[in-house]
């Protein structure tokens, strides 16, 4: 199986977030996506997961048989997709039945992330790190070759980060693929790395009016901006006085 991404571009709300992103991921490989806050790391994963549509470029999954890309991947994002009213075990049992191709039982998966004792607790009672671990345990209950992880280590303690690293390495040994965004190093053995840079566009001080304009056009707008400020200020002062 091979995931190849070619010249991908992402637009959100008519803003070009990034463009020209290309990489290929073979069986057993891992890709670490880095970049500043707001550079578009999560958007790249959203594109891969099919939540967003690319503005340009292609995402192709080869040798996947009849399955679509969405059926070949796990996605663990910032929102953990857990139902607070259900117990950890029920959440995993649902994912196992719903996603198909079941592997570990929900009990075993919880044990693998060190949460066997919390199996019968409603997820609402768990801490942020524990919820994250339940969400990661979802990776184990159903088999999907491609794992998309959006900052998987956030809220995890050192021991859990090590557990996660072992889980990821085992998945790669079993022929899986991983694409993860991260700020802290994941310590994955010979992982590919890609850095997302935001497409440069006019500074935020130019405001909405200069959204698509060149730098030269943007300049007259920026001095114009402060003028409503002073004229607006006496108005509000009057309002406070009356």
């Amino acid at each position: 199986m091979r995931l190849s991404v070619n010249n991908l571009a992402c637009e959100r709300g008519e803003r070009r977030i990034f463009e020209g992103v290309s990489f290929a991921l073979e069986t057993g490989e891992a890709l670490v996506i880095t970049g500043r806050n707001g550079a578009g790391k999560s958007s790249l994963l959203d594109l891969l997961a099919g939540r967003l549509h690319p503005a340009a470029g292609t995402i192709v999954l080869e040798n996947a048989g009849e399955r679509s890309l969405a059926e070949c991947l796990h996605y663990v994002g910032h929102r953990d997709a857990l139902k607070a009213a259900l117990t950890a075990e029920e959440n995993l049992a649902f994912a196992r039945d719903f996603l198909g191709d079941p592997r570990l039982s929900s009990r075993d998966a919880l044990e693998a992330v060190g949460l066997a004792h919390a199996a019968r607790l409603p997820v609402a009672y768990l801490s942020a790190g524990q919820r994250r671990r339940v969400a990661l345990a979802r990776l184990l209950v159903a088999h999907r070759p491609l794992w998309l992880l959006d900052e998987p280590t956030s809220a995890l303690d050192a021991a859990s980060q090590e557990t996660l690293r072992l889980l990821l390495e085992r998945h790669r040994e079993g022929g899986g693929m991983i694409a993860a965004t991260t700020h802290s190093p994941l310590f994955l053995a010979d992982a590919k790395e890609i850095r997302i840079e935001r497409t440069p566009f006019p500074p935020p001080s130019a405001g909405e009016g200069a959204k698509r304009s060149e730098a030269g056009e943007g300049e007259p707008v920026s001095p114009a901006l402060p003028s409503p400020g002073p004229s607006g200020a006496p108005l509000s002062q009057n309002g406070e006085g009356s």
């Binding site: 059926e71 929102r79 198909g100």
Partner: protein
């Protein structure tokens, strides 16, 4: 595919049964409206039994509407909707499972409770039977039509009112034929079957159109 359908159906039924679930909310709302109206109208039994079916139907419509905004929004907020997109089953199947679960916890209890609430508006036994039949046949249409609105407003924070404005016009035919079928059962010039069959047809059409439209709305959302 059926496995995914069943898993989602069971999950939603469980969620409705838990604390904070929408399970009994619709039913309590239904009860509130139907109990209030006799107090407002006064103890005129003839009047009550004449407008009883209409009262029950309006109450059922509003009770269906009240929890509907959370149908997809709850899943959107906690990220479950992203999980639901990864299913081997198509999104239409996901919508169908969720709507079925919603109907089982709101529409069905309304139909079952209708005879008991019928006492409050002095319905005759035939009218009560007709109410159960029309609610059973008509509430699926309300739920499916509402699901389209729920899918469209899934990512809006206060989508409840917009949802109501969006879907109410489309619910009016169901209301008209539901009430006229219930009235036809106790007298009048048209036989019961005529408006009732139209009501059944409305539900079937809504089931097809609503499922496809809600899935399309979820796909284009984000």
């Amino acid at each position: 595919m059926m496995r995914s359908f069943r898993a989602l159906l069971i999950r939603d039924l469980k969620l409705a049964a838990r604390v904070g679930g929408s399970g009994v909310m619709g039913l309590i709302f239904f009860l509130m409206i139907v109990t209030l109206i006799p107090f407002a109208l006064g103890p005129d039994l003839n009047l009550l039994s004449r407008i009883g079916p209409a009262i029950l139907w309006i109450a059922a419509l509003l009770a269906t509407l009240i929890g509907l905004d959370r149908l997809f929004q709850a899943d959107q907020e906690d990220g479950s909707l992203d999980l639901l997109r990864l299913s081997p089953a198509p999104l239409e199947m996901v919508v169908l499972a969720k709507v079925t679960a919603y109907w089982l916890v709101t529409g069905l209890p309304l139909a079952i409770a209708a005879p008991f609430l019928g006492f409050l508006v002095a319905l005759s036994p035939e009218a009560m039977l007709a109410m159960v039949a029309t609610l059973l046949a008509g509430t699926p249409a309300l739920t499916f039509i509402g699901a389209v609105g729920a899918a469209l407003t899934a990512s809006l924070r206060r989508g409840g009112l917009i949802l109501a404005i969006l879907v109410l016009p489309f619910m009016i035919p169901t209301l008209i034929f539901g009430v006229s079928a219930a009235n036809a059962a106790v007298g009048g010039t048209v036989p019961f079957a005529t408006p009732f069959l139209i009501l059944v047809a409305l539900s079937l059409i809504a089931a097809v159109v609503g499922t496809v439209a809600a899935a399309a709305a979820l796909r284009s959302g984000e």
